[in-house]
């Protein structure tokens, strides 16, 4: 009996008891499925964070004031000093403000404003424009009252899905007790999930900001050019961690503070996110590992039952000339077919699961060669580990004893 025939026989045997075969595989489905799902999501997540920051580079950093009292806010002088550092490419202030607008029915809706330099769009965040343009250096200098709005603003407030015709419209924005009219010069893609509910969009509206030139903000607020946050870029070839630390020390010293300024680089953010992802992966893998062991023991159990049931068959085969080795191989192959198929199905289940879950969070699930190798490898290992004992039990049966078995 050659290997091919043993494999064929193994399939035949497993197919002759489909219900049992399926139940035996369940534990492996769950175990392998869970690992593949988390690995696949994790890989997609890493990819996502990478592309998210790839526009701006790992050297991009962000400065935030913790205490936002007027005398602690960032000033034009601060920016001069930071810019003077040889490792710094650029730095610019920005400011978040809460505001409100009226919709067509006359109800007030909360919105947010984000004020920045024109340079922000070229070196920090690249907006995907659906219509119109972003503001320029000139708009900034003249403190033009222009705004770039999110697509959901056009949809929910203007009731306008043709973004082009929204360009040039005037909107009235209220901040505190001041109300000013802005001209819409652009509409950007706020990248909402495709099938997001109305409720979700309403909530998102207050968080997807209207972009306005930072100089224009003075007209509507009392900021006097002081800002609570800033964006910057570090020149290539310098360690972002090191430089952001220097900026942090510099700002704290200038304002005679101990620790009022957070300076975070994109590299830091990615590192934190990945660390968290790795921890989740480790945790789920541990749970899945337990499930795999339990599944393996289940397989061993069923294989032992199978050997018992087929004692007479084993006796007959031995009487006809089957060696111990051939019998051992036969049962081992059955265990391996069981685990490898279960592992493969588990892998597909996990991958499909990660596509579904990933779809909800805009993460593209990835199935790498390493993951396929992992699934097949683990399944093979479990098949061997838990199949060898039952197979050995079968192989060492005495032909005379097993023929007597009824």
């Amino acid at each position: 009996m050659n290997l091919g025939e043993s494999i064929k026989l193994g399939f035949k045997q497993l197919l002759s008891n489909k219900g049992r075969t399926f139940l035996t595989m369940l534990g492996m489905f769950i175990g392998v499925g869970a690992v593949i799902m988390i690995l696949s999501l994790g890989a997609g997540f890493k990819e996502y964070t990478k592309t998210f920051y790839s526009d701006i580079g790992l050297g991009a950093f962000q400065v935030n004031c913790k205490d936002q009292s007027s005398h602690l806010l960032l000033t034009a002088d601060d920016f001069e000093v930071i810019k003077a550092m040889p490792e710094i490419q650029t730095v610019m202030g920005s400011l978040y403000e809460k505001g409100s607008v009226y919709n067509k029915k006359g109800e007030t809706k909360d919105i947010s404003l984000f004020a920045s330099e024109a340079e922000y769009f070229t070196s920090v965040e690249k907006l995907e424009l659906l219509a119109g343009r972003v503001y320029t250096e000139k708009d900034s200098q003249t403190a033009a009252k222009v705004a770039v709005i999110p697509d959901i603003y056009a949809k929910l407030i203007l009731r306008q899905t043709n973004y082009k015709s929204a360009i040039g419209d005037s909107i009235e924005v209220t901040v505190g007790d001041k109300t000013e009219a802005f001209e819409i010069i652009g509409v950007y893609n706020s990248k909402m999930p495709k099938n997001a509910s109305q409720k979700f969009l309403e909530r998102a509206l207050s968080q997807a900001p209207l972009y306005i030139p930072i100089t224009t903000l003075d007209i509507i607020t009392t900021s006097e050019g002081k800002v609570s946050s800033a964006y910057g870029g570090i020149k290539d070839g310098f360690d972002p961690k090191e430089i952001t630390n220097q900026v942090r020390l510099l700002l704290n010293r200038r304002h005679s503070q101990k620790d009022n300024y957070n300076v975070t680089s994109a590299a830091d953010l990615i590192e934190t996110a990945n660390k968290m992802m790795n921890m989740i992966t480790l945790f789920i893998s541990a749970v899945a590992g337990i499930s795999l062991v339990v599944g393996g023991v289940g397989i061993m159990n069923i294989m032992l039952v199978t050997v018992k049931e087929r004692t007479r068959e084993i006796g007959i085969r031995k009487a006809l000339g089957a060696t111990n080795k051939v019998i051992l191989r036969q049962f081992l192959i059955e265990a391996l077919i069981l685990t490898i198929i279960a592992g493969t199905i588990g892998m597909l289940i996990g991958y499909i699961g990660s596509i579904v879950v990933g779809g909800m969070y805009n993460i593209e699930a990835k199935l790498t060669f390493g993951m396929i190798l992992f699934s097949v490898g683990t399944s093979t290992a479990i098949g061997l580990l838990f199949g060898v004992y039952p197979a050995y039990q079968a192989a060492r049966l005495e032909p005379v004893e097993s023929l007597r078995d009824e």
Partner: protein, 230 residues
Amino acid sequence: MIDIQNVNKIYRNGKLELQALFNINFKVEQEEFVSIMGASGSGKTTFLHILGCLDHATSGTYILDGVNVSEIKDKEYAKIRNQKIGFVFQAFNLLPKLTIVENVELPMMYGGVKPKERRERALDALIRVGLGNRIKHTPNEISGGQKQRVAIARALVNNPSIILADEPTGNLDSKSSVEIMNIFQGLNNEGVTIVMVTHEPDIAEYTKRKVVFRDGIIIEDTPIMNRRGV
């Protein structure tokens, strides 16, 4: 061809010991047709299992085709069973999930015969026992007599030195029993050596030589005078 010298068999179950065979000496020559008789428990099956290399004697020598098989390892033992012995059991011992022709092919599978040749030889063997048609049926779909014929075809198919049958008619009606004995006689006439256990005297009369066991010893070994069926 078979030469058994001073063979003893003792079964041990924990502290319990039971001697099933005492100092057996026994020879079989080529083309013999031997029946082994005796009361239940007299040691017939035990003896046949030793002859068939399914079990080891506790002591003594067994020479099969000039080879001393009493000292052989398990792996070689399996090979001898496959190449030199054809076994026929009272309970047929066909594999129920395989078709008839697949059952007959089994010994050749373990003997490493190629699939095409396997099928040809299996069909030949089935024709020899008069079962050239129903080959795609499973054992559950045929009668007891037909099952035993399949088992004989399976025993024949590797051209063994000897066919060993343990009460092959024990589960059959008298008509089927006669059919089986006719097949055995036909094969023996073609030169096949057969040793068969039976406790039915009229079945023994189809053979050429009668050996009687009692309590683990041979008490009679005589030629059959008035053979039946010839």
